[in-house]
């Protein structure tokens, strides 16, 4: 039977009481008035020292006795069928232990880098030597690697603007006619690769005597891959153990075991020896997924108050050979007031002969938000309005409206915004253009599933919290430990969190910003139950009734008198540790089931060289209950840096004649570095959600939706003309300025 419970939810600007139905056996939710001693404080990442000193063991660091090195021999053509494969020389090469086909004759290769042969040798160099001896013949087929030229692609003019007519809609036309300002334009962005520092890869160890498969994998889904490895190896799932104690980043590309994981297993089973198969950097860029490119066209109108009167959006994605998951999405809350007919969204994926796109940190949103927030700014410019006022005219969210105001004040929006776009601030430096831009953020996640977390209290007063889910760098270990420390009233240093091992209760895949909000309530419940068990055992040891025994702030009390510290009490629990599990119940009513957020960026553009530098960014972000302040801020900071990189630098360069990536490295695949990182400011807005006993929301995705949009808008404010393409490289800036100059010239002639 569920029990009704009143909980105070909301945030500083909007608090209210919500009646929720508590699941039987659960503890009541932490509410707006809860005062924390561990949760939400600025504790350091528990494994931070291990990481920066190199002691943390990633899959890449796993070395086993007798281990072989595996690699995949890959297609050198973008499309064709395998005619024949000759591995005889490779099989005879020094050190080679196994050579396997991954695709049979007649099978199609779908991109440069598709796997054809897997081999294992005593050393990595021997494996590479052998790979050079594999001879593959193809029936080569014509390929298309540029999604702009793929079947079904829209027709573009010389400036990259879609020229195809829109599907008819009387409602849209009416909405457009009702507006005072109207925009119709095309935005485009390139493929971004995930570029996790640890590449994809697996160490597989098939132990034939036991029939056990033990796997170390750089994965975002420890529990999910256990099933996938078992199925692929035809080994019972109860004989597969997967480890991922540390994962060097994923960003959405590391869910399935992949060709690298499955072939590590095959090679190990073929040789009876452990096999390590990690991708190199070129493979990581070209064979392990990416954020698809996109072309987005919007026509929209707004009335003189800035309120949108019509919104027509269509996009085309370039997700590679899969031809799917290239979708984009845009901030729909801005048009919540529009009648259904006056807003429209359409998307089409364009298949090409390139590596397939995969989920990447807020899939589809950085693309769509860049276009949509860009369109809003163009409307604001036409109306002579502050873009912030245009957002406020359309944004119905009380939380984000609060955040817009808070952010604008903290950032100094009015002062940083260039009142005369394209005009230099300092007349003595006419080439230095400055501007500011903003964009909104959102994501929806309070977690879910019915995951379980184990909490164990030992006789010496130390505590363990365990779940099989992986910590992909977000700080899951620290978060679980903080919740348990809070609930038990013990210092964080006494709690050890273990993640990334299928020996523990299964955990969620780390996708969609779900890991923390899914596991946090189970961790809290596990700790609460362990605490209750501790009280019972201590009461028995003291010969008192458990109901008489209070436990507060790390001390057991009888009639308010301190009797025993936590550690002293643990000594009395006997040799059997207390071990409890907490489960994850379904979410109940919550203040909100998503998060908001907004970001501000300031840029400088050198109008002579076309070079753009981001000089300042602010992210205002809510994420329900903040569990670990520094780690939450770190998530946001990472999103900002990744967003700067996406906005200004990152682009997969293919030579379409050959379908081959040219910058599959970190030399010319450019990622923003320390000197490119400007002043970054993060403000977390605490929100009590209800929803479950913790009320945390995921934070991986939300701050990744807005940065490129805000930076692009800042550049448009600096230049006085939008670039409408990412990355914003000097060639594009100079072209936009030249277009603006030509337009001004022809206007002058027209006058």
């Amino acid at each position: 039977m569920s029990a009704p419970h009143d909980v105070k939810v909301g945030f500083a600007g909007d608090a209210k009481v919500l009646q929720v139905q508590l699941p039987p056996g659960d503890v009541p939710p932490w509410d707006l008035d809860k005062e924390f001693s561990v949760v939400g404080t600025a504790m350091d990442r528990l494994d931070g020292v291990a990481k920066v000193t190199g002691r943390a063991r990633y899959t890449f660091d796993v070395n086993l006795p007798g281990m072989l090195y595996g690699l995949l021999v890959r297609s050198t053509i973008a499309r064709g069928r395998i005619k024949s494969v000759d591995t005889s020389e490779a099989a005879k090469a020094p050190g080679v232990v196994a050579v396997l086909r991954t695709k049979d004759d007649g099978h199609r290769v779908r991109f440069v880098g598709d796997d054809v042969v897997a081999l294992a040798a005593e050393t990595l160099d021997q494996a590479r030597d052998a790979a050079e001896l594999v001879r593959i013949e193809y029936d080569v087929e014509e390929h298309v690697t540029d999604f702009r030229k793929a079947e079904g692609a829209p027709r573009l003019d010389g400036d990259g603007q879609i020229v195809d007519p829109w599907p008819e809609s009387a409602d849209i036309e009416a909405g457009l006619a009702a507006g005072k300002a109207r925009v119709e334009a095309t935005w485009s962005c390139e493929v971004q690769t995930h570029s996790a520092l640890e590449s994809h890869g697996t160490v597989a160890w098939w132990k034939p005597d036991e029939g056990v498969l033990e796997v170390w994998s750089s994965t975002q889904a420890v529990s999910g891959t256990q099933q996938a490895f078992a199925a692929a190896a035809k080994v019972p799932q109860n004989k597969v153990r997967v480890h991922a104690e540390y994962v060097g980043g994923g960003f959405g590309a590391k869910f399935p075991p992949g060709a690298e994981g499955l072939n590590a297993v095959r090679l190990s089973m073929a040789t009876g020896r452990p096999v390590k198969l990690m991708l190199d950097r070129y493979e990581e860029h070209t064979c392990a997924g990416n954020r698809p490119s996109a072309i987005m066209q919007i026509r929209a109108a707004a009335d003189e108050s800035g309120k949108l009167t019509a919104w027509d959006y269509r996009s085309f994605g370039g997700p590679g050979y899969s031809g799917q998951q290239g979708g984009t999405s845009w901030p729909t809350y801005y048009v919540a007031h529009l009648p259904r007919g006056a807003r429209r969204t359409a998307h089409k994926d364009l298949a090409t002969d390139t590596d397939a796109g995969r989920a990447m940190r807020a899939p589809g949103r950085p693309q769509g938000f860049f276009a949509a927030e860009g369109a809003l700014d163009e409307l604001a410019v036409q109306l002579g309005m502050d873009p912030l006022d245009l957002r406020l005219a359309n944004d119905p969210s009380p939380l984000r409206r609060y955040e817009w105001q808070l952010g604008a004040e903290r950032f100094g929006w009015k002062e940083r915004r260039n009142p005369e776009p394209g005009k230099p601030r300092d007349p003595s430096r006419p080439w230095l253009l400055q501007g500011a831009g903003l964009a909104s953020a959102t994501w929806g996640q309070l977690g879910g599933g019915s995951w379980k977390v184990t909490c164990r209290i030992h006789q010496d007063g130390t505590v363990e919290v365990r779940n099989a889910a992986q910590d992909i760098g977000t700080g899951l270990k620290t978060v679980l430990a903080a919740i348990v420390a809070e609930e038990l009233g013990v210092p964080l240093s006494r709690v050890r969190a273990t993640t990334g091992d299928t020996i523990d209760p299964a955990g969620p895949a780390s996708g969609g910003s779900t890991t923390t909000p899914s596991l946090a309530p189970a961790a809290r419940l596990a700790a609460a139950r362990a605490r209750q068990k501790l009280v019972e055992r201590v009461a028995a040891a003291l010969g008192v009734d458990a109901a008489q025994l209070g436990y507060e702030q790390g001390h057991f009390r009888i009639d308010g008198q301190r009797k025993l510290s936590f550690v002293d009490a643990c000594r009395r629990i006997g040799p059997e540790p207390i071990e409890e599990q907490g489960e994850r119940f379904r979410n109940y009513a919550a203040y909100q089931d998503h998060v908001c957020g907004c970001q501000f960026a300031e840029v400088e553009v050198d109008a002579r060289t076309g070079l753009v530098r981001v000089t300042r960014m602010l992210a205002v972000q809510d994420t329900g209950l903040v569990l670990a302040k520094k780690l939450a801020e770190s998530q946001v900071l990472g999103a900002l840096i990744q967003g700067i990189s996406y906005a200004l630098h990152e682009r997969r360069v293919l030579d379409h004649r050959f379908g081959r990536m040219l910058n599959g490295d970190f030399n010319y695949y450019k990622i923003a570095g320390s000197v490119d990182t400007p002043v970054l400011d993060v403000v977390l807005v605490p929100v009590a959600n209800g929803g479950n006993n913790v009320g945390a929301a995921g934070l991986g995705e939300p701050p990744a939706t807005a940065p490129a949009a805000a930076i692009h808008n800042a550049v448009a404010n600096a230049l006085g003309v939008p670039v409408r393409a990412l990355p914003i490289t000097p060639d594009r800036v100079l072209k936009a300025l030249a277009t603006k100059a030509r337009a001004a010239e022809s206007k002058k002639e027209g006058d």
Binding site: R608, T609, L654, P730
Partner: protein, 330 residues
Amino acid sequence: MKPFEIVRAEGIAATSKAAGATPGAVFKAAGIDLLDRMKERQFQPPALVDLLRLRSELAAVKVEPDGGIAIGALVTLAGLAAAPELADPAFAGLREAAGIAATPQIRSRATVAGNLLQQARCWYLRSAAFPCAHKGGETCFAMYGENRYHSVLAYDDCVRVHPSNIAPPLLTLGAEVTVQRGDAVRRIKLAELWPERPTAAAPDHTLAPDEIVTWIHLPKPAAGSRGAYCESREKLSFDWATTAAAAFATLADGKVVDARLCLGAVAPGPVPVPAATEMLAGKVPTAALCDEVAAAAFAGAKPLYHNAYKVPTGTAIAARALRLAFGIED
């Protein structure tokens, strides 16, 4: 990486002779780029001759009796940027170029001669998948391919880009180089390190396989001279210049006695611009004149499909370097 032999000898002559006696041997100083290329199997020499053994002889910056400067070939970029012997404003461009290259880690390791002699940058050249003309193949894949970072000037049938940061400022300073092969020592102009016509078939540098750069010599600059170096780069952390320019100027009574300009990152070799010297001689330098000279430096540019931006960007960078050298506020 394929197995290779490390060859070590004592002293410059013996090291050169050891290289000559080892078939296929190449010199390795810091090995910054060389080892990367070897790990990626772009280049698989059977033997490396270790030059770092010569550090006791060649890692110093010295003031010569005539007031000139001698820079040991094994001085690091960080060492060059911080050398007190180069405090004169005439060397400001050289210090700047050395001080902003690559990353702090690389600068503390990479050597002056290695920076001058490194392989050209081109993603086709540096991929085993493309048998390009500079590697003995038939085609320059970049010419009509993806060429946003390639040459816009002074190229022939290969549009690779010369990546050395310090070559342009050294050329404006009138640098010479001592090279040694066995016991034979010769001193040449710095520009002679690179082929006069950097065709596809031409090597990256003109030295014999067993010839070692030992010293770089800078003549004593005229009093009141000033050097400057500017580059455009997309990232500030660890990136290559898309265009670069070094300028050097000597003024007397407000007029130009001597002015030199050299471009980098826009052609297969560094590009001295003698016309700049002619255009500026005897003139009172102004910002407008700098713009004019910079425009003239790119007058012969033939940009490729994706790199037309390098002409306005490079022109702005060259003009800025000139202004800095003249002490005109940018």
